[in-house]
Symmetry: C2
Subunit: 481 residues, 2 copies
């Protein structure tokens, strides 16, 4: 153990306690999740990072389909005028747009914007498709890349191009739309907590933190190890302005003209950043088993007491057997010592390691090592599936439990900004307090580089953290990514 | 039957024999595969079309992974200078580029091109990753959208934005790279013939038809019902110029400096167009069962002899049961007659229809109707899985067989252009002949709006179709999309 720690330090993984931000950048690079691209603010997602994204997608795509949505694809390039149809929307997105002005060797008559989000073009199509109440609800999802010109980018957390799913739906009633926005929020929470093992807090965004063009924005937020909040995704009740701006008229059940109620909701490759920052340790990543691209790494141990082929035969037989139930990889590189392999796969956060050496083969056992706590078990071959299954489940819940305890320790309750502003600025964490909902009081947080993260239903504090006026319910305040 | 035909005509599906091109555009729209987008040359892929693409992706993604490739994601936007590094490449793509000149409210110092293909940016990254022969082979695939400014677009066949996978690999030896390019060609052929049920012909492209920047381009081509060829995908041995242009130097096994050999290969949403044009008939689409988004449509038949709920209960029980093995949908819309439903799902090309009416329920049977030939079978409930499975297999092979016979009838062999030019121009079809490989002779085809499609290994003709000089092997000539 101490050898490996030393190794980690000599390889220069920055100290996770004192240099969290450097640790984050370095682990992404060293674990080969992503690489910087030669385009400002963009990343390349490398195979190991992309395999993680594919696992997350698989879970989320199933949730989206099981709740009655269908996938579709809309154009990347959107006429600039579309974005201008809804005033708040263009105001919010204008500074971030990448614009195609030339194509096919000519200047375009109307510039095309690379989609920063697809409400406008999807709503334009909705208007063609929704003629009668029988066309409702219309529940569409798109997996896509989007571009928002970022001044300060960080891999996975904030990149010029990112990858996401964006759901867009239309409904007959406001209640139905609200129910949809809340349903998808709940699906996101299930994804975060039960797959990514990240405890979250969910609620509504304040007026100033809402999506540009939404009436209500629901958010779910995690608390990272450095005490900063991370918005992990959002679900919106879209303003009726959109339905009018895109002339989404239809005939309702009573034969009258009506406009549908709209929602949109999205989660992005930022979820990968959340996972890294929630579970990583000084040795590197820790992948929650349910989304780990590799759940079990098999390392054959070659010694003089048995021919290498014989060890490999046993190790590959084991791999073939375990592959039926788990995502398994074997590292049989003969140019590298077992110690270096342990280090490498710990860095990459594979939850479970299996060593297969001559003695293990003779005794028909394998040695399992957990990435979370280094605990070792010697397991008879016939019990392997069962033990791996239960150990992976244990690791999954340990990760969630650990993150929940960490968050509990950083979740403070305090009536007055003056009492918690110092800790908020220097130590981070969630601060639950009361708020009168005025922008004036909210703006006091700026000097501590903090923001309101979400409004929650609980009401422990009766008065505002700043002005002392009545608070309808509590708010969570934090510094955030 | 005749009722439905009439219905098809009244709904205005153009005659597939005499107005193939109109039929094609109209069936895409009526079957809700895609819709025109409000952006020049772009389409929206609607849920039914996208579900088909997801089935195709599933098959192809598995093939790509099973042959040892890993998925990754590279940026959408590429510095313009990257494309200029390889002379043939930029010459080929310059007229088709969409260019981002402004972003974040400012003019960019260097314009960014929306990727028309990703060789340049991927090769730039390859140069960072390949240091030694141990980093080879490097086998990467990307599922992505690309943009090529098209003057004349057609849904799925030629659109400004399209969706594809692009594989990019690097190898130590030329032989290995050649083997890779051929392996992926074979995987594509298997996808086309055994999943899409489209018989193809494969071979090398001529010098003038090659990918801009390739040494060798392998192609696989289908023959559509109107006698035009369709290039369905390509696999390239990329020119060593790329390795040099991107300084992809590495240390080889002997410690010397070397440059890798590169391949790339891609297949696009065009495959959907190929499927439509190969199998469709006057009633609409026919989906090959192995990729059909819906393999079985269940239609409950409501009559006065049994309460509607009772029919629905039986129909939904059937659906739940069949869903374990097949992709099944039930159409229980009560506002629409069974006849209209038959028409609708025939139009959408669902291979198998099951009717469940009161009499069927009493007798515990179901009536199966094949989309291909309208053949009906009455099947006892306990035999359903077995009969559906075998009927779907039968439909799959009938479609392939039918397409193969059609192609055989349109595959002509002729020694001299003068003998076949008239038929080539007026009737279409494949023309196998000899060719000396000179550009001069190839250009004779232009006046008949035809091109060389691929060079094949067979050598039935010893001399050129035009100049009579020696032909090393045969060529396939056709008009093409």
């Amino acid at each position: 153990m101490s050898d490996q720690k030393k190794s980690a330090q000599t390889q220069g993984l920055p100290n996770i306690q004192t240099s969290f931000s450097d640790w984050y950048n370095e682990i992404i690079y060293q674990a080969e999740l992503a690489d910087q691209a030669p385009v400002r603010g963009c990343i390349v997602i490398r195979p190991y990072g992309y395999a993680l994204w594919e696992e997350i997608k698989k879970v989320l795509d199933k949730k989206i389909k099981d709740t009655g949505h269908e996938n579709a694809q809309f154009p990347l390039l959107i006429p600039e005028s579309f974005l201008k149809r809804e005033a708040e929307h263009i105001e919010g997105f204008a500074p971030e747009l990448a614009v195609v002005t030339h194509a096919g060797g000519k200047k375009l008559e109307e510039p095309l914007v690379v989609r920063p989000t697809s409400e406008t073009i999807i709503h334009y199509m909705f208007a063609q498709w929704i003629r009668s109440w029988r066309d409702l609800p219309l529940k569409i999802n798109q997996w896509a890349n989007v571009v928002r010109w970022e001044m300060r980018s960080r891999p996975f957390l904030r990149t010029t191009e990112f990858w996401w799913q964006e759901g867009h739906t239309a409904h007959e009633t406001k209640q139905e739309a609200l129910h949809e926005a809340q349903t998808m929020l709940l699906e996101y929470i299930d994804l975060a907590e039960n797959y990514l093992a990240i405890p979250i807090i969910a609620g509504k965004k304040s007026e100033s933190e809402k999506f540009a063009g939404a009436d209500i924005t629901f958010t779910f937020e995690g608390l990272m190890q450095d005490g900063k909040a991370l918005q992990m995704g959002t679900s919106h009740m879209i303003s009726q302005q959109f339905a009018h701006a895109f002339n989404m008229k239809y005939q309702d059940r009573s034969g009258k003209e009506a406009y549908p109620y709209l929602t949109s909701w999205g989660a992005t490759t930022r979820l990968i950043g959340a996972l890294i920052m929630t579970h990583g340790d000084q040795k590197g990543l820790i992948m929650p088993p349910r989304v780990a691209p590799i759940q079990v790494i098999i390392i054959p141990i070659y010694t003089k007491s048995m021919p290498q082929e014989e060890v490999d035969t046993a190790a590959f037989a084991l791999k073939e057997r375990l592959e039926k139930n788990f995502r398994v990889k074997i590292d049989n590189d003969t140019h590298v010592t077992p110690g270096s392999k342990f280090y490498k796969w710990e860095l990459k956060g594979v939850p479970l390691r299996i060593e297969v050496g001559p003695r293990d083969i003779e005794q028909q056992v394998a040695v399992l090592t957990s990435r979370v706590n280094g605990a070792k078990q010697t397991v008879a071959w016939q019990d392997l599936e069962h033990t791996i299954e239960s150990t992976l489940q244990e690791i999954q819940s340990t990760l969630f439990q650990r993150a929940r305890e960490r968050r509990a320790a950083q979740w403070h309750k305090s009536a007055k900004l003056s009492e918690f502003s110092h800790d908020l600025e220097t130590k981070g964490g969630f601060y639950q307090t009361g708020w009168c909902r005025s922008l004036l009081c909210e703006e006091q947080l700026k000097q501590y580089k903090a923001t309101t993260r979400c409004l929650i239903e609980e009401r422990q504090f009766l008065n505002c953290f700043y002005c002392d006026q009545e608070s309808p319910s509590d708010v969570i305040i934090a510094k955030a990514y």
